[in-house]
Structure formats: C-alpha cells, structure tokens
C-alpha cells in the first residue's frame, strides 16, 4: 500500500468532507431541483474518490452513470412530478421516531467504522491471481478480465437483468398503450447556444464513447462505460427534439437490446463444445471473442439505459 504524502492526505480529507456535506444536503434540500443538482455533483465527487481509491475503471462508470444518466433520470422525473398532482405520501414522522431511527443508523455507522478500523492486515485479495492469469486471456486490463472471463456469468446475468428491468418498465403502460413510443421529449425545437450544443455534443460524445469502449481491453474503460456514454448521447438528441425514442414494438430496437446478451449466451454455450465449460473461451480465441461480445454489449447497454430513462410507452402525443 502506498504510504501517502501529506499533500495527498490533505486532498483526501477535503474530498471526504465535501462528499459528506453534499450527501447531507441531498437529503436536506427542500426543493427537488436543487436536491437532484446536488446529487449530480455528488456523483462527480464520487468519481474523483474512485480515482483516489485506485480504480479508474469504477471512476469512469461512476462519472457516466452516477453523474450522467441517473441525474437525467431524476431531473426528468422531478419536472414531471411537478406538473402533476403531488403524491399524497406518508406524513412527516415525529420527533421520537426520528430519534429512534437516528440512533439505529448511528449504531450501524459506528459498527461499520469499527469494522473499517479493524480490517485484517495483510489484506486478503485476489489481485495476484487475477493478474497472474491475465496473459491467458490476452487482455491487459484485469477488471475487464474479471468482467468478461473469470466472472463472465455475473456480467451475462447483469446484461439480462437490464432487459428484464426494461420489460418491467414497459409493463407499466396503461392498457392499449403497449408498443407505443415512450416519453419524454422536453423541447420541441431548439436554437441558439442550445442548438449548437446539441449539434456538436453527440458526435464528440459518440467518439469518446467508442474510444472508452475500445481501450477497455488494455486500459481502464469498457462496455459499461462506453455504452453509458453512447446512451447519454442518444437521450440528448431526444431531449433536444432532434430524434424521438423508437416505438417499443420496433423490431430493430428489440434486436439491438438483445444482441449483447444473446451473443454472450451463444459464446457461453459454444464454450461447452469448443472449450471445456460454459463461458470458457477456446485457447487463443479469448481476446477476439471478448472484444466481439463487448462490442455487442456496448450497443445493448446504450440502448437499454436510454430506454430506461425514456419510461413506459404511450400511443398518445408525447407527454
């Protein structure tokens, strides 16, 4: 472990204090817009924290998902809620309840702090094993190795989960709306600085997304990070009214959504025939297969994340 200089400790302290202050303000701010804005800055701070914790891969994911698409999802929700009748939810809890829950949460935090201070040294881990076996996959990035070779089954299930969640999302459509076009188109026409931004940003973003996916084999990056950036750019073109989300009955959309998991599954079964197990890659074929699966996953993840933000389909005019 690195000894950590004075200046590094100072930076980390400031980062941690800001992180806690922003987390507190997310929960304390009364106005939804401000709370979601605080949440986006929180995602950015978390991305820096992940850099400091030595994982650029996670930092990229956090920047793309935490600060990017989650923020968009929440702000779109907040602005739609504002226009409808507010949900009559449970009343604000009383002081005794607050004290009781506060005490419980403080106990949990204290227990976790105690656990952090008493973590075993030397720390157990699989870093050495992960790095030692990396040459057999032909990859240079151990995180990609874990995601697509050692623990490929987790990644496969996750890709399937995204499709299932999207189905759940679409199932919320009222009767007769199934197969329609999902929401939200925020601006019917844009011009001026906004028009310039939405003309220039998507091509730049698509290049960056492809770059992040492509370097993932050897450097921090990969399908999730690249896919999320591509998905965000697609959402941007909807929001600006340049394109519209596809009908959920569109066969092309459905093909794009399942191509990643499907290719992954096919490669998995091929492993039984051509290698020794499910999701095992034949000797010498690991890297090209992984890159092919990752490319398909990138496209599927981009489409699934964007469609998750769009919501359930409707056959009426855009809400």
């Amino acid at each position: 472990m690195m000894p950590g200089s004075m200046a590094e400790l100072l930076f980390d302290s400031i980062l941690v204090l800001t992180l806690l202050a922003v987390a507190l303000s997310i929960l304390a701010l009364r106005q939804a817009f401000a709370a979601v804005l605080a949440f986006v800055t929180y995602g950015l701070l978390l991305a820096i924290a992940w850099v400091r914790l030595g994982s650029v891969d996670v930092a990229l994911t956090e920047a793309a998902i935490g600060a990017g698409v989650t923020g968009v999802l929440l702000i779109a929700a907040a602005s739609r809620l504002r226009r409808s009748i507010p949900i009559a939810d449970k009343a604000s809890p009383g002081i005794p309840m607050r004290i009781a829950v506060g005490a419980l949460c403080a106990t949990i935090s204290a227990a976790l702090v105690a656990a952090v201070l008493h973590l075993p040294t030397p720390a157990p881990g699989q870093a050495l094993a992960a790095v030692a076996n990396l040459p057999s996959t032909g990859l240079g990035n151990p995180v990609t190795g874990v995601l697509l070779a050692y623990r490929a089954i987790d990644t496969l299930l996750e890709a399937v989960v995204l499709v299932l969640v999207l189905l759940g999302d679409w199932s919320m459509a009222p009767d007769g709306q199934w197969g329609g076009r999902p929401g939200p188109r925020l601006a019917p026409e844009v011009n001026g600085p906004l028009g310039l931004l939405v003309s220039v940003l998507p091509p730049v973003g698509i290049l960056i997304g492809i770059h992040i996916f492509w370097i993932g084999a050897d450097m921090p990056g990969g399908a999730f990070q690249g896919g999320t950036i591509l998905g965000a750019m697609w959402i941007l073109t909807w929001m600006a009214g340049r394109t519209a989300p596809p009908h959920t009955s569109s066969e092309r959309l459905r093909l794009v959504l399942v191509v990643g998991p499907a290719l992954f599954l096919v490669a998995g079964f091929a492993g039984i025939v051509f290698a020794e197990a499910f999701l095992a890659y034949p000797e010498g074929w690991a890297k090209p297969l992984i890159i092919g699966i990752e490319a398909a996953l990138t496209v599927s993840i981009a489409a699934a994340l964007a469609m998750l933000v769009a919501g359930w389909p409707s056959r009426e005019a855009p809400r």
């Binding site: 800001t18 939804a32 968009v72 973003g205 960056i208 950036i229």
Partner: protein, 93 residues
C-alpha cells in the same frame, strides 16, 4: 513536483467546495447551476492535476468523460428548469 501538484489539487478542491454553498443558498435555479458548473470545471482541473501528479494518464479519460457529461447535464437541467414555471413552485415532491 508531484507533492506540489497534490497541494494544488487540494487547494482547488477546497476552493470549489466552498462555492457549493450556492447550491444551498440559491436563491434561483440559475445560481445553483452555476455552483455545480464551477464544481464540474474545478473537478476536471483536479483530475488533470491528479493524472500528472500520480503519473497515471488513464485519469485523463475520466476528465474527458466528466467534461462531456457536465455539458450534457447542463442542457438537461436547463430544459427541466426552464419548463418548470415561475419561481414559486411546489416543494418536495
């Protein structure tokens, strides 16, 4: 040199973190967005300093990603704020 760069990053982080008070104070959504934008630019600058200080060029990709998504979030928040109506809106949905 790397020690100095870490100090610079710490100074920067402290500075823009203080600017975040505007998210709490407001008073308008525009002020809050400015505060977030300052933190975004400051965070990117801090990431660039960290990339050089720790000799890890992969961090530059994180900065690139943050720069792209900050502009994206800026557009979306603008659209949400500008269609939200007047200043006296419903609180706490």
């Amino acid at each position: 040199m790397s020690e100095l760069l870490f100090f610079a990053a710490a100074f920067l982080a402290g500075t823009v973190a203080v600017g975040l008070i505007r998210i709490l104070l407001g008073p308008t959504d525009a002020d809050r967005m400015m505060s977030a934008q300052l933190l975004g630019t400051g965070g990117i600058a801090a990431l660039l300093l960290l990339a050089t200080a720790s000799g890890n060029p992969a961090i530059l990709d994180v900065a690139l990603c943050v720069g792209l998504l900050a502009a994206f979030a800026g557009v979306v928040f603008f659209l949400a704020a500008s269609q939200g109506g007047g200043p006296d809106r419903a609180e706490d949905p």
